[in-house]
Structure formats: structure tokens, C-alpha cells
Symmetry: D2
Subunit: 305 residues, 4 copies
């Protein structure tokens, strides 16, 4: 049946089709594993407009790293996941060593599950101002790319669409690539804080907790946008609708009944509510550190003698 | 039907009984209004063990201030609600001007909906150290009570039960009254960030986001404990169970079916999840300010010439 | 004698001239008082290039509000100072009710004395997105100006000059006026957290704790810039040099000796050090609230029936 | 000459004696080096009351690790310093694997240079509640010590002396060892954020930014107290007095003149001022992480099969 599910993960959209093992036209799915099969990497490639329409996501490549222990307090786990993020980021974006990159930390740093983007920025090693001060010689010697970064805040704080702020900053500072980090909404609770999605399509509207509506992508910004997202919340209406649908289907209700009920749920105060785990503070701290380490390893290189 | 609902509001427990307008033995309900009926104040008095058992809450008085616009950005609203909190706090605790009071800000300041208690402490005007430095003369002249305050953190941060920390602090500093501020869990989304509960029974275990298990009350601490709580979250399993129950009842399911399904929901990963609104940062900021202003007005008095 | 003193307050530059009560050519000084003479308001008007060169500040008007108790915990004090800031802000900027304004919170929110700007933004009531959503009718009915706001961070965090970020944001969002809030450096400790400077010249480089070098003014941004600054730090080398100069002058040293010594002080590690009071957290919190209340009162107007 | 210098580093007190290379009675000084002589470790052992009086510090052992690049952004540096802290901590405290330890993060988290202690606590892996939940078997299997932690805040926030809070917590939770982390005041700017002092004497009053007056030591708490401190500030009056003294001595002034002048400096508003570097946010973040890693490595042990 078709009801509008709310997820920012291409993988979850793909899973929502009944024909799970059959190829959908225009959508190619591949799987890899790492860390003794504990980590699964799935690539969803949306090849054409047919696939895009079915998936309700833009044409492009979406790589999902599923690391079930990423939300747990285990230091040994950060490094391998960080290495995987770096590896697949480079697969989508190419070598980043000599690039001029603007990293954008989307989200509201005052709301814990939405603070992922700003917390990544807090740990980033920015270099653009150093290169401008010490010159190209310094850049070459240290084999540095030019990295700048901003946490623009959310519309309720700034009164501006994030795309307006970033577009302006791009015009003045001319980066060649944008990497946007954001908290996402998943459909399934089990994906929260255990999944990293890297996509070459930019960030689709309405992600995570925020309410900004306009996409950050090559079309709106004029520069290629790689998005790194981690689902930290599930929409409250999604969780209710999904649980209920499952139950109603199992007890023989027809699609019409179910659709009617779901519509009622969506019409309630649940609209602006999200679901998140109680240990969200530790999870966001750990994952943002993992991502910032991945980025730092892609950008800079230890000085050589 | 009886399934275990999860709410820290005595008012919501009372509402969960079908015989809404009939008197329950051992529980007295009274209603008042303020601000042209826009604010309702309900007092639930649990009089004896029978009432306590039915309500699953200790004997005592629970005053609930329902201010539907408290979560909205309206400065004119803070003052009247602040005045009402002060008024009913004094009703339960007596005059606080000359008391020796320890205010405890419960909760985790790193998780937005749980940061209410610590944020109240941040705005509090503490005086105990001033009185100890400048003496009783200073205290009388400025008509100050002795106020101390602490945000002990949560068990996952400290490794200690909150009651252990507070009990120790009480032994060393001898306050005559504890006022504990905490974020609560409600059953209904419409009560989030719009309701203040003041109770003379202390704080019951498991409130809000945290996992501490032992109550802070006169029995455990040896000192009277007034609790001020604001529901900022709903348990994810509560929201799913409630929505579903409503639906199943309306479509003629029996209690057994419903109970079985609810048990399944409660057995899932939803256990450690909570639901909270997207604007939780602004709401907690505004409400914690409102409560701290109420407390400051109860404690201190402008100097007289 | 002339050694380079480091202050962002035009008033302190003016005071550094020996001919205190004589008129300096091109610089006009006027004084007013408020709150029973407890608050002094000084206007330094730099009229021409001669004055600008002498004062080492751009031509324009610098209004300084000296409120000696502003750093103390006294609620009754915030409102009158807030009203004075609003009054003199309107004197320099005109009526702000129907303006399209971008408020910029300069500084690093992670360094307490430099967090003034970002903390003002945190308390600001932004409206631009509301007007764009609900239209001009809504704006007129609520008599709102269009207010947007940003805390861009500092160069060490972003890799970008603040002027680059703001210039880009202006191009995309077209505000008609910029109000920039910043922590300043004073020369005298007694001015810390007790003084508010409002200037129609923009922000001069090198203010406060940060290291950005380019001015935010009408020339660099193409839009009028009103700056509101509060000194929260004194440069460490300034404090040493000033104390020493005073002593050396009193003991009969010649200018040459003193100059030589000051140069030595300035050449030390003291270069990147600042001096700030121990209660800086409370002071910045109180003053940022006072300024945000002044701005909110200038921008918005309660709805009329 | 003798004027009261203000430093929490035993090493700096020792250096202030003119007879630098001569043995002072009751004070033993030893030196070691690490990291190809880039890191110096100095042990000042105060052996008896004579030494204690001279040094104005309690009898005990003070180990100072001087790592000149610790304030710089260099990841490769954290690990060796962290290992050294762990090594010398164990030298003073013994093996910590099976201990019951309470870690206290002293200081005000709202004032950047004073946030060192609370930030160490934020990164600490606490275990006491896990052991109490899962039992001794779990403890043995995972070879865990029992670690609890608290950031009590400062007197201006709590109205209580820190020693009162910690004493109470100790009575209720019975740790066998206290490790107290605090920001310190140094005399020399070059020691800021580059030096770690580990002492088995507890924390002496008046350290860092705070104003608490009572020591945390075995005498006041009844439990052994190891202190780990990092100088993040210099008193403003110290910096002025030191610079001036140096100058006056070099130009032939007598002790009396100098003493008189210093007294004047100390009598000014400089009293409550401190000096700290502009990059204090990054330095405190890096160093608190380094210390928390050292502690985590001392306490816990990877699970064995």
C-alpha cells in the first residue's frame, strides 16, 4: 500500500517496496561488507527519472554505512567507521587533498539530535585562512587543501533559508565543493545513530528536526554538494502510522481503512513531534567526532620533510 | 481497560479513570481559573492509601497549572504564570522568605528536553554563601532567605544515584526544605511544555528522560521535598499504545487483543525512546526562566531603606 | 607621550589626550545624564578627516552609555539601560519599526568574554521568515519590521573573514541596515562590562578577542552598519604598559625610556593575551539580555486590535 | 625580595628562590625528560614542615609535566602526554584498576579557562552504576574499577563551598580515592596550557578562576586526594607586578620602592581580573580530552575472553 512514509534514507525507501529482491527499473542496489560482516555498506544508485520518481529522491548515488554498534560507547569502533566514511566519501567526491571545500554543519545546536552538523564543524581543522595568510608555498609544503566551515543555524534562529546564507557565502569565497552534514529522519528506530548516508545529490528538503524547505544542491548553489547524514530522529507520526499499519495489515483490514486512520494521525499535534533515544547526547557526540575525524583525514596530510 | 500508562502528572492519572465526574474514594479534585479562564489550576489531593493505590502516586497534594500558551513566544505570558507558580508554591511550602532552601535541578543538561532543571538553577539567585560571609545582620537587613542550589547531573554521567548525592549534600549543609525541579513525562502531547505540576510529595522515580530509580522525598532525604515539574516528553511506547488503543476500541476489539498488542509495542526498541516537539529548545528556555523568576520572587526581597 | 594604546572606545581615545577640557579640532564632545546622574551618556562626534586622524577612528558618531552597575546582579537596572540603548540606537539609525534589518552577532561563543554577540542573537525575536511565509498583510497587521540574524563565528572556526560571510548573506537577502554586536577591548578595567558604545561607523578591525582584520562598514558591505559594542576585555599588554607608564612618569623617566620599555612588553608573549573579570559569565549573560531586549523593543510592536 | 606571588605550581614557587641550583632544606627537586627532551618532568618533593613553610605549600609530592606544544593543534601530541599523565598519576596513586574512585571536576563550566574540570568529567567513562547493577561478577570479568564523577559547580552558582558538597557525596558513596581536576593560576604566561601538575596533597585554596576558600584534601575529606591541575590563567596583578619588578630591579630601584608600588597595584580593581590567551577554547578542549584519556586508560581495561 502507499502511504507517505517519512525517511531521508534512500535505503529505507528502497526497502519499502514489496519486490525486495527484484530489480526496480532505474534503481541499482549493491551490497558490501566490512569488519567481519558487522558493518554493511549498501549503494543505492538512482539512474534515471523513472527511478527518481519511484524513489521520490533525485538521481544520484546514495551510500549507506550500517554500523549497529556506532551508538554504543566503544572507542575501538570509531576508527573503522571513520575510515569507511573517508573511503566512500572519496569514492563520490574524488581526492580531496587539493580541493577548495566549504563544509556546512546544518541543524540547530540547541536541540540535541539536531546538533550533529554544528558539532562536526566544532572538531574540524579549517585551513583556508592559513593558506591565505601564509601563501601557496605553505599550502604545497604542508599538502593542505583549503577548508572553510560554517554552522549557519536554522530558519527559526536566523529568519533566513539556509540556502540563502550558503549561496551568499559561496559567491564571496568560491569553494569548488560543498560537504553538508545534517541530522536525518529515519523510518525505523533501529537505524537511529547507527547509520551514515553519503550522497552526491545534496540535501533534500525537510531533513531531521529543522523546517527549512529549500534543497542545498548543485542546482540551487552552482557547486557540487556531497551530503553526509545520520538519522537521529524518527517522525512521531511515522512511528505511530507504521506500528498501526503493521497491526491492521496482520488483522485483515483493507487499505482504505488504514489510509483513513493514518490520515487522522497525521492531522494531529504529532506533526511537529519527533522520537529520539534517551542517550542521544552521547550518540551525537560520538558520531560527530567520527565524521569530523573522517573529514580531517581526507583534507589534511602530515607535513613531510 | 487497564494498561500501564506512563505519566508523571497526577492530573492525567486521574483523567484516565472512566468515572470522570464521580468522586474517587480518597482522591479530591478541585478546579480554579486565572487569566480570564485561559489558565486552569487543578488540585488533586490524594488523601489516603486507597487513593494512593488507585492513583499509583504517594499521598499528598498535586497542583497542576495548565497554561496553553506557555510554549509560545509571548513575553506577556511569563509573568502571570510565574506569579501563579509562586502563589501555589507558597500554598504548599509556606512562606519561603526566611527558609534555608536547597534547590535541586534534576536532569541532563546535554539533552534539550531534560535540561529544564539545570537551566532553572542557572538563573537562580543563590544567597547562602553571602549570608555566611556577611552574617545574620546582612541577612536581616536584606530580608534574604538562605538559598543554595545544585545540578547534580544524571546517573549515566555521575555513576551515582541522584538521591545519594543530594542526601550527602543535605547532611553537610542542613537545608530545611528541598525544592526539586525536573522535566516530566506526560501521556498527552497537548500537555507538553504547557503544564506545571507542583507537588508536596517529592519526585517519583523514572521521571522525564533520566533513568535514576530512587525517589527524592522526605522519607529518603529526611527533609520535606517540594517538586516542580514540567512535562517535556511523552514516552514513545505510550504514544503508540494510546493511539492504537483508541483506534482498536472504536473498531470493537476486545480488551485482550488490545492488551496483547500493547505488550508487543512495549517489548520493542521503543523502550528507551521519547517524543518531544521540534521547538523544544525555545520552550525549555522560556519555561525554565519562568520558574526561576517564580523562585527568585519567593526567596528574596528588595532591600528596604 | 604617544604610545599605541589599544581601545575600541572612542571615549577612551578622546580621554587619552592631555587637553581634556579643550576642544580638539574636528571632534565634538557632549555629555548627558540619566537615572539621577548614575548613568552618563557621552557623544563623541568625529566631524572630519583631521579628527579621524587624531582619534584613529573613522568619521562618525560614537555614543557611550556608562552604567557603573551594569555588571552587577540587579534586575531593576537592566530595563533603564535597555531603554537608553533603544533610545540612542534610534537616534543614530532612525525608526526601526519598518526596516529590513540583519543583526550580526560577532565573536566566538566558546570564549566567554567574546560570546556577547552570539548571546544577543540567541535572545532575538527574528521575523523575516514569518513575513515571507504569511505575507505583507501579516507584517502590517502586526507592525513588524523584517529582522534576520546570524552568528557567523570567528576566522579560526570558519577559515573565512567575517566580512566575506556577511557580504554574501547581504547579497542574497538584501537587508537595508546591519546592526553588528561585538565584544570590545577597553583600555581601563573600570569600563569592562559597564559601558555600551553605539556607533554609526561600523565595527573597526581587531575588536575584542577575535583576530579578523577587515572592517564591517558601509564601504565594505554596501549597507549602513550600526555597531553596538561592550568592552569585556583589556589587552594584557595594554594593562601592563599603562600601569608602568603611570609609574615611570611619576618617577621622572623620560619618554624615550618609557617607549623602549613598552616596546619590550609588547614584543612578549603577552601579545595574544587578554584580561577579563572572574564573573565574566554572569556579566555577559546579563548584558547580552539587556541589549537583546533593547533590540526587540525597537523592532517589534505588540499587536493592536 | 619578597612579594607575594600568586601561583598554584610548586615548580614556580621553587623557581622564585634565587639560589636556584642549591638544595633548599626540606625540598627535593628531580628532573626527567621524555619525547626526545621536548617534554620535561620535574618532581618537587616537600619533605617536612620547613620545606612546606618556605614553599607555602603542604608537605607532599608535586610532579610537573611541561609539554610546550600541548596548547597547539597537534593530534600526535595528545597521546604521549596522556600516557605520561597516566604514568605519573599511577606513581602517586598506585594501580587504579580495582579502586573505588570519585573524580571531581572543579571549576565553572561557563567561564572558558575554568571549564577544564567539568570538561574532563564530560569525557569520562563512569562505571560505578554499572557495577552496582550488574554485580561483582561483571566487574571482575571486565576488570573494571568503580568510577563515579561529579562537576559540583562553583560557590557563586551553588551557594555552597565545594568541600561541603564533596564531603557529603563521599559520606554517601564511600570512594577510596578522590581525583580532583582543576584549572590553576600560573605566574608565567609561558606555562599557560602547556603544563600539567599532579600532586598527592589535594587542591590548595584559591586555585584558578574560582573563589572557594577551603582545601580539598585528606584532612578535610577523610580520603586521599590526588590533584591534577593545568594553569590556564595568570592573575592580572601578578603579571603587572612581575613585569614591573623586573624593570625596576634592572633600573636600580630599591626593594622598598618596588614593594610600595606593587602594593598599589594589588589594591586596585585588578584584584578580580585574570589573564588568559585568545585561543583558550581550543586549548581547554584539547587538554581536557588529554586528561580524560589518561584517566580512562588508568581505570578501565578492555574485556578479555
Amino acid at each position: 500500500m502507499e502511504h507517505k512514509i517519512r525517511t531521508d534514507l534512500a535505503l529505507e525507501v528502497r526497502e519499502s517496496f514489496p519486490e525486495d529482491d527484484v530489480e526496480i527499473k532505474g534503481v541499482v542496489l549493491t551490497e558490501e561488507f566490512a569488519q567481519e560482516k558487522k558493518i554493511r555498506i549498501t549503494t543505492v544508485a538512482i539512474k534515471d527519472e523513472h527511478g527518481a520518481k519511484l524513489m521520490q529522491k533525485p538521481v544520484g548515488t546514495y551510500i549507506t554505512i550500517e554500523a549497529p554498534d556506532l551508538d554504543k560507547d566503544s572507542e575501538d569502533y570509531c576508527k573503522p567507521v571513520s575510515d569507511l566514511i573517508a573511503k566512500y566519501l572519496k569514492k563520490l567526491a574524488g581526492d580531496l587533498k587539493n580541493e577548495e571545500i566549504l563544509v556546512v554543519g546544518l541543524g540547530n545546536r540547541e536541540v540535541t539530535p539536531d546538533a550533529l552538523g554544528p558539532q562536526v564543524i566544532d572538531n574540524l581543522f579549517v585551513t583556508r585562512h592559513l593558506i591565505r595568510e601564509y601563501g601557496e608555498e605553505f599550502k604545497k609544503k604542508n599538502r593542505l587543501g583549503s577548508v572553510s566551515a560554517i554552522s549557519p543555524g536554522v530558519m527559526a534562529q536566523t529568519g533566513m533559508e539556509t540556502v540563502e546564507i550558503i549561496k551568499g557565502v559561496i559567491k564571496e569565497t568560491n569553494p569548488k565543493l560543498i560537504i553538508a552534514i545534517d541530522a536525518l529522519a529515519a523510518r525505523s528506530i533501529s537505524r537511529l545513530n547507527t547509520t551514515v548516508q553519503i550522497a552526491d545529490t545534496g540535501i533534500c528538503p525537510g531533513s531531521g528536526v529543522g523546517n527549512d524547505r529549500k534543497a542545498l544542491n548543485e542546482e540551487s548553489l552552482g557547486v557540487k554538494v556531497i551530503a553526509i547524514g545520520v538519522p537521529t530522529v524518527v517522525d512521531a507520526s511515522t512511528i505511530v502510522a507504521d506500528t498501526l499499519t503493521k497491526y491492521m495489515e496482520s488483522t485483515g483490514f483493507g487499505e482504505e481503512d488504514i489510509f483513513k486512520f493514518i490520515s487522522e494521525v497525521n492531522g494531529t499535534q504529532m506533526y511537529n513531534m519527533f522520537v529520539t533515544p534517551k542517550n542521544i547526547d552521547e550518540a551525537v557526540k560520538r558520531i560527530s567526532y567520527t565524521i569530523s575525524e573522517a573529514l580531517n583525514s581526507c583534507f589534511s596530510q602530515p607535513a613531510v620533510s
